[in-house]
Amino acid sequence: MSSLGFFLIAIFTLAAGLAAATMPKLIHAALCFALTFVGVAAFYFLLGAEFVGLVQVFVYVGAVAVLIVFTILLTPRDAEKDRSFKWSGAWIALVVFGGLLWAILKTPRLGTAAPVISALSVRQIGKILMTDYVWPLQCVGVLLTAALIGALVLVMEEKR
């Protein structure tokens, strides 16, 4: 657990997140969004859960970012005009952050260092997925199919 790496990744992710939130241009925001998730994946790597990191990259950067970009493509009208930035949202976010911070700082026993663990191998995850979490896996499978079909239906051109 290299603290240097941690800080670099932290800074990178938060910066990318802020950029995603505040970029005037939509496409830039979307790309920063992708970067944020690469950052988060890096965090996962840092925390020793490579598989999750990879899945994160795979899903978010590979699929969601592309989807978002496509959506931006398909809604050309006011992509440019979107300059305004509502400060009320900012204040609320800040307040929430303050609240969370307060909650985190108040709870004791959080300062412990990271215990040494063996890296979580994909084989372990595979075994657990197939034994303890078989049922949720199937559910997620069904969910994904449903979402897929739903999205298609929503977007299909109504053939009048």
Binding site: G89, I92, V96, G99, K106
Partner: protein
């Protein structure tokens, strides 16, 4: 045969009733059919009465009663019945015979009237009701028929509806009799309350039989007196006699039938029928109720006799004479001479009917002129009427030997003389007899003797259909005395249930001489006073104030008018006042109060509650709008609300720990 008629006694009243309904259904034009129906009904009733009379002859003290239940309510049963005993039998015969004569007479008398059929319907209805009263074995059935009789009398008195005086007279008759009937009704109720049954004779436990009588005890006198009120009303005794003279408004046969023979006799019959009640606990024949009966009878007799002296109208004189004779009968009943009273009733029925019909034919002849001062000298013009009228007059005034009236009066006087409490009634009765003779001679002189005054100029004898009944009645008046003479007192013994024994020795009695003297005195006085009869009554010339006092019927009507009617009027006005101002006022006041209260609540409700409710409603809507603003439809607003909510939770959590 004998118990058949006893069992079917109800046929006697029903036949005339059926006849009357049949006649009612006929139209005015069917006059001969109506008349024949009525007469046949009466003939059948007469024959049945004879049949009923026959068994009572066989056994003295005969009594056959048949009771039936009218209707049952709960386990109580109301039973009625009819009885056949000497009293009823005799009355049946008298009523049917007299009615028959009157029916035949009225066929001629009413020939000119256009409501001929209706008249006969009422007549047969009346006779049916009268027969019902006579044979009733239950006080209730008697009371029912009693009321029907009253109704019939009202209809008949008020027959000539177009005459306002007739209508008023009918109303007056009906109301005064009803006052009497009220007492009768109360007595009946009281009797029923005490004895539990209204049947007279019910095989031992009837009202008039020993067991029930004993149970009555002290209340018997009061019950008797109350029932006597009914008799007073119906027979026109002292306080309630005012209606009878006015009842003369009706056609003469009506007066003859109702106010001579039958209806007025009902009162006397009632007292005779219910006599055991009166005589309960009699100390040698005298009880409080009987003394009351005596005094009422005496007063009535005297007063009506005096008034009769001053009456100009031929029928009113006869009316007052009837009242006086009824008073006499009441006295005889009161003193204990029940049989004598009934005998006089029967005899009176015949000769009074005769006198009325006679006056009817006189009026008919004088073209409906009723004032005797306009008549006179009819002796030669109407010989039959004159002769029959003379026989009736002599019977009434009690000329001895040949005429029935004398014998019965003599019996009554004899009974009165034996009355222990006081002799005064006896003396007064003697004066009554004299007065009767006096006013009858006055009438004879005015009508038949002296010069032919205005109305009598072109009078002429009545047709045979009218004179025939007169003759028949005159014949009865004379022949009837046969059964009355002390020598062979058949009727007296028949009524009192003994076996008559023929004894010529008793034929001439000491009292007979007394009667002869009295009558002679009366007639003599009459001739002396009224010899030079003229428009102005001699008595009037002699004693004008007394005469006017008598002429106006002792101002009794006006007295009543001022007292009773005034009281009634005052009561009416009082109740009207109360109703109009007091109760109405209260109600209106309450209404106003309610209105006031209503407006108050409205005000309170409107201003107070509604306003507040509206305010809350507005507040709710305002709050609702406030809340709805949160639902702005913008996703970001929702998200920020969630965030703030979370923060609030955190703060709350912080505040908790």
């Amino acid at each position: 045969m004998s118990n058949w008629i006893a069992a079917h006694l109800w046929l006697i009243p029903v036949v005339p009733l059926a006849a009357s309904f049949a006649i009612l259904s006929l139209t005015n034009s069917r006059r001969s059919l109506a008349a024949s129906l009525a007469v046949c009904g009466q003939v059948v009733a007469f024959v049945l009465s004879l049949a009923a009379f026959w068994p009572t002859l066989q056994t003295p003290g005969y009594r056959a009663f048949h009771n039936f239940t009218w209707f049952t309510f709960g386990e109580q049963a109301l039973r009625l019945g009819f009885v056949l005993d000497p009293l009823a039998a005799v009355m049946l015969i008298m009523i049917t015979l007299v009615s028959l004569c009157i029916f035949v007479f009225s066929v001629g008398y009413m020939a000119a009237d256009e409501h001929f059929t209706r008249f006969f319907a009422y007549l047969s209805f009346f006779s049916a009701a009268m027969l019902g009263v006579v044979i009733a074995n239950s006080l209730l059935l008697l009371f029912i028929c009693w009321e029907l009789v009253g109704l019939a009398s009202y209809l008949l008195i008020g027959f000539w509806i177009h005459k306002p005086s007739a209508a008023a007279a009918a109303k007056k008759a009906f109301i005064t009799t009803r006052i009497g009937d009220l007492g009768f009704f109360l007595g009946m109720l009281w009797l029923y309350g005490r004895s539990g049954t209204l049947l007279f004779y019910d095989g031992g436990n009837g009202a008039l039989e020993q067991t029930a009588l004993l149970s009555l005890g002290a209340s018997a006198t009061f019950i008797a007196l109350l029932i006597f009120c009914g008799a007073v009303g119906k027979s026109g005794q002292f306080p309630l006699h005012v209606w009878l003279p006015d009842a003369m408004e009706g056609p003469t046969p009506v007066s003859a039938l109702i106010h001579a023979a039958t209806m007025v006799a009902a009162g006397v019959f009632l007292v005779a029928r219910v006599y055991p009640l009166f005589s309960l606990g009699a100390l040698h024949g005298v009880t409080a109720s009987l003394t009351v009966v005596v005094w009422i009878g005496v007063i009535t007799a005297l007063i009506s006799a005096l008034i009769a002296l001053a009456q100009p109208d031929i029928k009113r004189i006869l009316a007052y004479s009837t009242v006086s004779q009824l008073g006499l009968m009441m006295v005889s009943l009161g003193v204990g001479g029940v049989a004598a009273g009934i005998m006089h009733l029967l005899a009176h029925g015949f000769f009074k009917a005769l006198l009325f019909l006679g006056s009817g034919s006189v009026i008919h002849a004088c073209h409906d002129e009723q004032d005797i001062r306009h008549m006179g000298g009819l002796r030669r013009v109407m010989p039959v009427t004159f002769v029959t009228y003379a026989i009736g007059m002599m019977a009434l005034s009690g000329v001895p030997l040949f005429f029935s009236g004398a014998w019965t009066k003599e019996e009554i006087l004899h009974a009165t003389s034996l009355w222990s409490p006081s002799r005064v009634p006896y003396w007064l009765m003697l004066i009554g007899v004299v007065l009767t003779a006096l006013y009858m001679t006055r009438q004879m002189i005015y009508v038949f003797f002296g010069p032919r005054r205005t109305a009598a100029e072109h009078a002429h004898e009545s047709p045979p259909v009218m004179t025939l009944p007169l003759i028949m009645l005159a014949f009865c008046a004379i022949v009837f005395s046969v059964v009355l003479t002390p020598a062979w007192p058949w009727l007296h013994d028949y009524l009192s249930g003994e076996r008559p024994i023929l004894n010529f020795g008793l034929f001439i009695q000491q009292a007979l001489y007394l009667a002869l003297v009295l009558v002679a005195l009366g007639v003599g006085l009459g001739i002396l006073i009224y010899r030079r009869a003229s428009e102005i009554d001699p008595v009037e010339r002699a004693l004008p104030p007394v005469f006017h006092f008598l002429r106006n019927r002792m101002w009794l009507d006006e007295l009543y008018d001022r007292t009773v009617l005034a009281l009634a009027r005052f009561a009416a006005q009082l109740s009207d006042f109360l109703d109009r101002y007091l109760w109405d006022g209260i109600v209106r006041f309450l209404g106003a109060l309610a209105q006031l209260f209503a407006s108050l609540t409205k005000g309170f409700d409107e201003g107070g509650i509604n306003a507040r409710v509206d305010d809350t409603a507005d507040a709710a809507r305002g709050f609702g709008q406030l809340i709805s603003r949160v639902q702005s439809g913008q996703v970001q607003v929702y998200l920020s609300v969630i965030a703030l909510g979370m923060v609030a939770l955190l703060i709350f959590y912080a505040w908790l720990t």
